[in-house]
C-alpha cells in the first residue's frame, strides 16, 4: 500500500490569547486545532472547510511548521517532522510549499517578479538546470505570465497575475505537497476560474498533493478529491467529495451545504435550507460534549455530555470510506 505523503496524529495547536476588546480583556487558551487525525495520499487533493475561525489556517500553518504544534505528530513523506528545528526543516521546506490568500501581502513590493521567484532557489542553495534566470522564465510561462515582464514589480500586476506569481514560487522547487490557504478567495469570479484551472493542471503535471483550505464550498467541491469538515478545531466529517456532497451525514455538514447558494434560480427556489441559529461559540470556551450541540438541529441530551468520537467506516484515505463524529448521524 502507498504511504501517505502527510499524516497528522492527534494534532493540537493552542494559543494563549487575550480576547474581548478595549473594555473587557479576558485571558485564556484558544484551542484553534484540537486533536486532528488526517492522512493525505500522494496526488490527492484534500479540501478543508468550515466557518471562519474553526482552525483551517492554523492546521495549514502547523503542518508547515510555521507554528510549533502543541501536541501530536506530523509525519511528512514517512519522516516525523514534529520537532525538527528550523535548520533541520530547510530541506523539507522545498518539498512542502504554501500559497496564500492575499497575493499582494505575500509578495515583497520592492522586489521584481524575477527576484521573487528566483529567491526560492537561492534560499535553498539550488541551481536549476540552465540557471536561475532561464528557470524563472520557464516558470512564468508555465503559470501563464509573460516572461518579458520578469523585471516588473508586484504592483504592476493584477490580483490574478499576482496569485500566479505565488503559484510559480510554490511550484519552483517541485514540491510534493502544497498547502493552499484560500488561494482564490480574493479573486474575481472570472479570474478565479483561470487560477483553479492552473492548479488543476499543475497537479496532474507534477503529481502534487494539495491541502486546499477555503470557505467557498463550490470551489472546494470542484478541486478536491476528498473534503474534511472542521468545527471549532475538530474534524466533524471526512469523505470523498461525491459522498460528502450527495449525502452528508453530519448535521453540521448538512446545514453548511444547504446554505451554499446555487447559481440556478429554479433549483434555488425549490431547495430547503437548514438555517443554523446563532454564531460559532468562542473557541476559548467550547461547549461540553459535542462541540456543535449549541447550534445543532438534531441535538439530544446525550450530545451535551458525551463527546462523539470520530468513527471511521471503510478506508477514507483510499476514497471509499467515511469518517464521522456524531451520535445521531443522518442515514447513509
Amino acid at each position: 500500500m502507498t504511504e501517505p505523503i502527510l499524516k497528522l496524529e492527534g494534532l493540537k495547536k493552542y494559543f494563549e490569547s487575550t480576547s474581548g476588546g478595549i473594555f473587557n480583556k479576558k485571558k485564556g487558551i484558544v484551542k484553534a486545532v484540537d486533536g486532528i487525525d488526517l492522512e493525505i495520499m500522494p496526488g490527492q487533493t484534500v479540501g478543508l472547510v468550515g466557518e471562519s475561525g474553526c482552525g483551517k489556517t492554523t492546521v495549514g500553518r502547523t503542518v508547515l511548521k510555521l507554528y510549533e504544534p502543541t501536541e501530536g505528530t506530523i509525519t511528512f513523506n514517512g519522516q516525523d517532522i514534529t520537532h525538527l528545528s528550523a535548520h533541520e526543516m530547510k530541506p523539507i521546506r522545498a518539498q512542502m510549499q504554501m500559497i496564500f490568500q492575499d497575493p499582494y501581502a505575500s509578495l515583497n513590493p520592492r522586489h521584481t517578479v524575477g527576484t521573487l521567484i528566483g529567491a526560492t532557489f537561492e534560499i535553498q542553495g539550488i541551481t536549476p538546470e540552465g540557471g536561475i534566470k532561464q528557470e524563472v522564465e520557464r516558470l512564468m510561462e508555465r503559470v501563464g505570465l509573460n516572461p518579458e515582464h520578469v523585471n516588473r514589480y508586484p504592483h504592476e500586476f493584477s490580483g490574478g497575475q499576482r496569485q500566479r506569481i505565488g503559484v510559480a514560487r510554490a511550484i519552483a522547487l517541485k514540491p510534493k505537497l502544497i498547502v493552499a490557504d484560500e488561494p482564490v478567495s480574493a479573486l474575481d469570479v472570472s479570474i478565479q476560474a483561470q487560477v483553479v484551472n492552473l492548479l488543476d493542471d499543475l497537479q496532474e503535471e507534477f503529481d502534487l498533493s494539495y491541502l486546499f483550505v477555503a470557505h467557498d464550498l463550490s470551489v472546494v467541491q470542484h478541486i478536491s478529491d476528498r473534503v474534511v469538515v472542521m468545527y471549532l478545531g475538530k474534524i466533524m466529517e471526512d469523505a470523498n467529495k461525491h459522498d460528502l456532497f450527495r449525502a452528508p451525514r453530519h448535521p453540521y455538514t448538512k446545514a453548511l451545504l444547504s446554505a451554499v447558494p446555487v447559481p440556478d434560480p429554479k433549483k434555488s427556489r425549490a431547495r430547503e435550507k437548514i438555517i443554523l441559529q446563532g454564531d460559532l461559540p468562542s473557541p476559548m470556551n467550547p461547549p461540553a460534549g459535542c462541540v456543535f450541540n449549541t447550534r445543532c438541529w438534531k441535538v439530544q441530551e446525550q450530545c451535551r455530555v458525551e463527546v462523539p468520537p470520530l468513527l471511521q467506516i471503510g478506508n477514507v484515505q483510499m476514497g471509499n470510506g467515511h469518517r464521522l463524529a456524531c451520535h445521531f448521524p443522518e442515514p447513509a
Binding site: I223, H242, S268, L280
Partner: protein, 344 residues
C-alpha cells in the same frame, strides 16, 4: 408592476485623476419598484458601488463629476437626488433611502453603544427623547433577530460577531422605514451559514416594509436566491439587464455567458473543467474603442466588419424586458449559448 420607486437615467460618474479621467459608471439606467429586488452584479471595479453612492448622494462633489438623474418617486412628488441640494438629499437619506455596507465595523462607531447609534439614527427624523430612542432600538434589534435585545442595546460593536454587526447595520438602516434599501455586498465578508441568515432577514424585512431593494454582489449564487431582476455591469456599463430566469437560462451577453460558465457549482459534481474568461478587464482610464469586452470575447469574430472594435454597442432590448449591449444578433447569441455548452 406599479410606478418604479427609483428611476436612474443615464447616470455617469467620472473621477478626474492624475492619470486621466476614470469613467467609473457610464450611462447607467435602471428602475426599481417597491417590493422588488434588483441585483447588480459585476467584478470588482465595474462600478457597482460608485453607482449606488451616486444615488445616495454620497460622493464628494468636488472630486466626482456626476451627470444624469436618480429620481425618487416620493408620495410628495419626484425628487432627483443628483440635482437636488445637499440638504435635501441629506434629509432623504435614512428616511427615504438607506444603504448598508460590506464592512459593518467601519460604519459603526466603536465608542458608542449599539443602542445609542440606532437611537441616534431614529431621532434624526422622530420626536422622542433618548429613552424612546433606546426603546425603538431594542425593538429593531429584536426585529433583526438579536436575542436578548434589551441587554444588547447597551453593548458596544466589538462585543458583536460579524453576522450580528451586519444585523445591527440592517436595524440601523431600517429604523426609519426607508422605501429604498441599497445593500452593497452585505454578506461578502460572512460565512455561508451566516449569509443565509442575513439574506433571509433581508427578504423578511423587504416584505415587512415593502421596500425597493438594490442588492450589489459578485456572487451569482446569492443573486439566484434573492433577485427579481438583474443588471450585469462590466467596465462601468450595464451590459445586460433582464428578469432573473432570463439571466440564468437565456443569457444574452457574452460576458454573462462567460461568468455563468466560469463558476464552480455545488449542484454539479461531475468534474467539468471550468471555462475561464481569458484576460482581465480594461482600465477605466483608457477604455478601448468599440466594445469594452472585446479583448476577452470569443464571439467578436462572428460580428461582420470588425464592428466590435469600432462601434460601442447599444443596450438594446432584444426581447421584452431583456436588454443586452452586444452586436451579435439573437440567432448568433442562441448559437453562442449552445456552443459554450455549460449554460443550461
Amino acid at each position: 408592476m406599479s410606478q418604479p420607486f427609483l428611476e436612474v437615467k443615464n447616470l455617469t460618474v467620472s473621477f478626474p485623476t492624475e492619470d486621466g479621467l476614470v469613467r467609473a459608471s457610464n450611462d447607467i439606467s435602471f428602475t426599481v419598484a417597491r417590493g422588488e429586488t434588483l441585483a447588480v452584479v459585476g467584478e470588482s471595479g465595474s462600478g457597482k458601488s460608485v453607482t449606488s453612492l451616486a444615488v445616495m448622494g454620497l460622493h464628494d462633489r468636488r472630486s466626482a463629476q456626476i451627470s444624469g438623474q436618480a429620481i425618487l418617486n416620493l408620495e410628495s412628488g419626484p425628487i432627483d437626488t443628483i440635482s437636488a441640494s445637499p440638504d435635501v438629499v441629506r434629509k432623504l437619506r435614512g428616511k427615504s433611502m438607506a444603504m448598508i455596507f460590506q464592512d459593518p465595523m467601519s460604519a459603526l462607531h466603536p465608542y458608542y453603544t449599539i443602542g445609542d447609534q440606532i437611537s441616534e439614527a431614529w431621532r434624526l427624523y422622530n420626536d422622542g427623547d433618548k429613552k424612546a430612542g433606546i426603546k425603538r432600538a431594542t425593538e429593531m434589534l429584536d426585529l433583526v433577530g438579536i436575542p436578548g435585545a434589551a441587554k444588547r442595546v447597551l453593548e458596544y460593536p466589538h462585543q458583536f460577531s460579524g453576522g450580528m454587526r451586519q444585523r445591527v447595520m440592517i436595524a440601523m438602516a431600517l429604523v426609519n422605514n426607508p422605501s429604498l434599501l441599497i445593500a452593497d455586498e452585505p454578506t461578502t465578508a460572512l460565512d455561508v451559514t451566516v449569509q443565509s441568515q442575513i439574506l433571509e432577514l433581508l427578504k423578511n424585512m423587504q416584505k415587512e416594509f415593502n421596500m425597493a431593494v438594490i442588492l450589489i454582489t459578485h456572487d451569482l449564487g446569492v443573486v439566484a436566491e434573492v433577485a427579481d431582476r438583474v443588471s450585469v455591469m462590466y467596465a462601468g456599463k450595464i451590459v445586460e439587464q433582464a428578469g432573473i430566469d432570463d439571466i440564468y437560462y437565456q443569457p444574452d451577453h457574452p460576458y454573462t455567458i462567460g461568468l455563468l460558465n466560469s463558476i464552480p457549482r455545488v449542484d454539479q459534481l461531475e468534474g467539468r473543467r471550468l471555462i475561464a474568461i481569458p484576460g482581465q478587464p480594461p482600465s477605466l482610464i483608457s477604455l478601448p474603442a468599440g466594445c469594452s469586452f472585446r479583448s476577452r470575447c470569443s464571439f467578436s469574430s462572428q460580428v461582420p466588419n470588425n464592428l466590435c472594435a469600432t462601434a460601442v454597442p447599444d443596450l438594446d432590448q432584444k426581447i421584452s424586458g431583456h436588454f443586452s449591449r452586444c452586436h451579435l444578433t439573437e440567432d448568433q447569441l442562441k448559437k453562442a449559448r449552445v456552443s459554450t455548452g455549460a449554460v443550461l
